[in-house]
Symmetry: C2
Subunit: 466 residues, 2 copies
């Protein structure tokens, strides 16, 4: 029993020493981690750094009220309200800042006026009852305004205003009990608040402004284009892999799909709310149809949702007849192209006319696949059973893509997108690709040619793609 | 030309009169609409009304500082900070209120201490440079803290604290330039803030407290149970309709599915963040595994997402072989039962052991369906093609339900759910129903009995359900 004890002691000592030695390095490692995260945040969106500098600048500017004797003599201790306003009101986007300024300004004015009225009423009611009457007023308005904050519309846009209303009403009405010069004080405060708010607005709008509307516009476009990329590249890889070699599938695009599904809803709604406060800027008018972006966003999410089950099938080695694979691949790649055209139309604010032929192709491809499956079902059954889930996802997706197309068309009418000058180069190479694909299919299975014969009523433009 | 003009004039007059007459009724109608909405909000969750009354009570209580002479003499104009604290800090849930109180309190203390230190440094640097040094400090801290607010973790839990830090640091350090009794002033403010915050906390916790953790717990359970109901009832209706008469499908459950998909994510994350601030209460310990609820919520959303395409098939009249319909119906109803058992386990905080047999049944049903489809595919092809999309959705869903089961099991281990005292009555009637269903199938198609023979290795419990 002596041996183990002896050898244990030094181990404990060594462990203790190691633990002790690591103490300074642990917080250092953490600090390094934080620094790395900070650099990533700044690289990811440099506007964050600019925003921080803008806040610093504005706070320092407003502090001048304290440093400069003549200004301070006029405003006194109320000057602190200017600093307060800046810190509380300065938001990342112009819309956020304007919204908070308006909320704060209007709520302060309205609440102060009402509170002075309430004070007057209380004085009229007689000296003794004054505190009770004012207490009653304060109670009633606090209850009412707290309840109004639960209204969904108020919560989305005027929550801050309601808070300031309760605050100002309470402060002004109870101050009236003690300070007789309440109006003079309120004046000084109001002036400082206006100074703070206007400095804020000036810095926010004039120096590298961040427009929530522009962010929303880009974000919705980016999501559609990500979905399009996913469809084009990812599905391509998926089919290549089953026919060619085992190519490593790039996982990032799947996680992109997930981020569209999960995070976009809240972000889009916030941005649309903020964008509503913004004046016209750049290509956007004052009443740009921001709500329509939410509709497009919802449809994009729906489409991503319908694509989600596809992940499960990607890992299985698909062994379906070549011509069915071809049709499915065609539909996916057409969807991808449609979505990318739509995203491009949103981005450049041009009419999405170039997406229309893709949508037509898509409908044709989807119909063709259905016909093919019905006629081809006499083939190897287990293979067809394997491919059917993907075909189902595809059919769902096609209707989703069509809906997105309609919604973008509506947007282009509402926001008066400009017409595009034609470019037809991109399309040609794709047609060649699809034709190849069909020729392989035609050679292999006769039922396909029957399916094609059934569709002779289609226009020449569509027939190329059948 | 005289005739129409004559008849037009009175029309304009009448229209004008009608428009004029409607003026008072329009705002009245709007007011009535708002009142109706308010009543609905209060009925929907009476805690909203109680919260509003609590806010009113607390604001009025704190206003007493102004009414009572001895209190006012001690605190002076700083008493307004108490009102301010109450209005800004009082949140709907206990977690929100505690979080804001801690954020406000700690940030104020830290910022005030640092600002006093900065002031001291500035004084040491010599009288002339003082404003510049302080201006530099204010600038640096405002930039740094504004940037720190972009860190996702900080944004989720400490955003308000960061705001208060910037505010307090700026106010205290620039006040130091003017007011020599800055420490005395800070003391009075701190006391009033503590008074405001403690009144807030007392009212919030002692009178009808709203626990964010409890809300999260119930909400996650409710979503799972809604999904279970949707599966059981809705799918039942769907198949009844195709075989029996055209029964009206109740749409509300589809919209429930949508609300799970769209709104739950943000709400769950907010509640989990708030729940993190709450002390132990009722059945929940201080460190209840709130994060696990987020995981369960994510899986529930995934399951709802996979079910979403089913809506498109509900409107088509399904005409598949009876025994396949039976299998699918069985799988959906088993999933429904599993989910409802899991929801019940969460709700009552008991171990979800009663869900396990359902999960086993579910796996069996899913396997059986696959076998059946493979063997039964020689039947009427167009019918099978019609049923396959639903079968695909079902397979996806089964794996989702299994994952939810695993996650709930994990939760029950982490949160030490109590074991359940057995109840076996519910299950029996279901077995009878399923048996019926199988007997119909058995009579019609021989391939099913082969499928069943293949599975003789299952336990007796499972065989009843095959």
């Amino acid at each position: 029993m002596v041996g183990p004890e002896n050898s244990e002691k030094p181990t404990i000592l060594i462990r203790g020493w190691l633990w002790f030695r690591d103490i300074p390095s642990k917080p250092l490692a953490k600090l390094r981690g934080v620094a790395r995260q900070a650099i990533e945040l700044a690289k990811d969106d440099p506007r964050r750094l600019i925003h921080s500098l803008k806040v610093g600048l504005t706070v320092t500017l407003v502090s001048l009220l304290y440093y400069l004797q003549p200004l301070y003599n006029n405003l006194g201790a109320s000057a602190m309200w200017a600093v307060m306003t800046v810190v509380v009101v300065f938001e990342f986007s112009v819309g956020g800042t304007i919204g908070k300024c308006l909320n704060r300004g209007l709520a302060t004015l309205a609440a102060a006026a009402l509170a002075l009225g309430a004070n007057h009423l209380a004085i009229l009611s007689g000296g003794e009852n004054e505190p009770y009457v004012i207490g009653l007023f304060v109670f009633i308005q606090a209850v009412a305004m707290s309840f109004v904050r639960f209204f969904p519309k108020v919560k989305a846009r005027y929550d801050y205003g309601m808070l300031i209303f309760i605050l100002t009403f309470s402060l002004v009405s109870i101050s009236g009990l003690r300070i007789n010069e309440v109006i003079k004080l309120a004046q000084a405060r109001f002036v400082t608040i206006v100074i703070g708010a206007s400095t804020c607005l000036a810095v926010c709008i004039l120096i590298y402004p961040v427009w929530a509307g522009e962010d929303l516009h880009k974000y919705v476009g980016k999501n559609i284009s990500q979905l399009g990329n996913f469809l084009e590249e990812h599905m391509d890889q998926c089919f290549k892999r089953s026919s060619d070699a085992r190519i490593e599938i790039t996982k990032p695009s799947i996680s992109n799909l997930n981020s569209i599904l999960v995070d976009s809803k809240g972000r889009e709604e916030t941005l649309a709310n903020l964008a509503g406060w913004e004046p016209g800027h750049g290509q956007f008018m004052f009443r740009h149809p921001w709500k329509q972006y939410l509709k497009i966003g919802n449809l994009t999410r729906q489409c991503a949702c319908r694509l989600e089950p596809i992940n499960d099938y990607l890992n299985s080695n698909i062994q379906a007849p070549q011509e069915i694979q071809c049709k499915i691949q065609e539909a996916f790649s057409e969807s991808g192209k449609t979505l990318k055209e739509l995203a491009w139309a949103i981005e450049t604010m041009t009419k999405p006319s170039s997406a229309n032929p893709h949508i037509e192709n898509l409908k044709t491809a989807s119909e063709n696949l259905k016909i093919l499956l019905r006629s081809g079902i006499k083939g190897d059954e287990s293979d067809i059973l394997q491919i059917i889930p993907i075909a189902v996802v595809m059919t769902d997706m096609v209707s989703s893509v069509e809906q997105i197309g309609d919604a973008v068309n509506e947007l282009s009418l509402m926001a008066k997108f400009k017409s595009k000058t034609g470019n037809g180069v991109e399309g040609e190479s794709e047609i060649g690709h699809d034709k190849n694909c069909i020729e392989i299919g035609m050679a292999e299975i006769p039922s396909l040619s029957v399916a094609i014969d059934e569709r002779t009523e289609f226009s020449a433009d569509e027939q190329i793609l059948i």
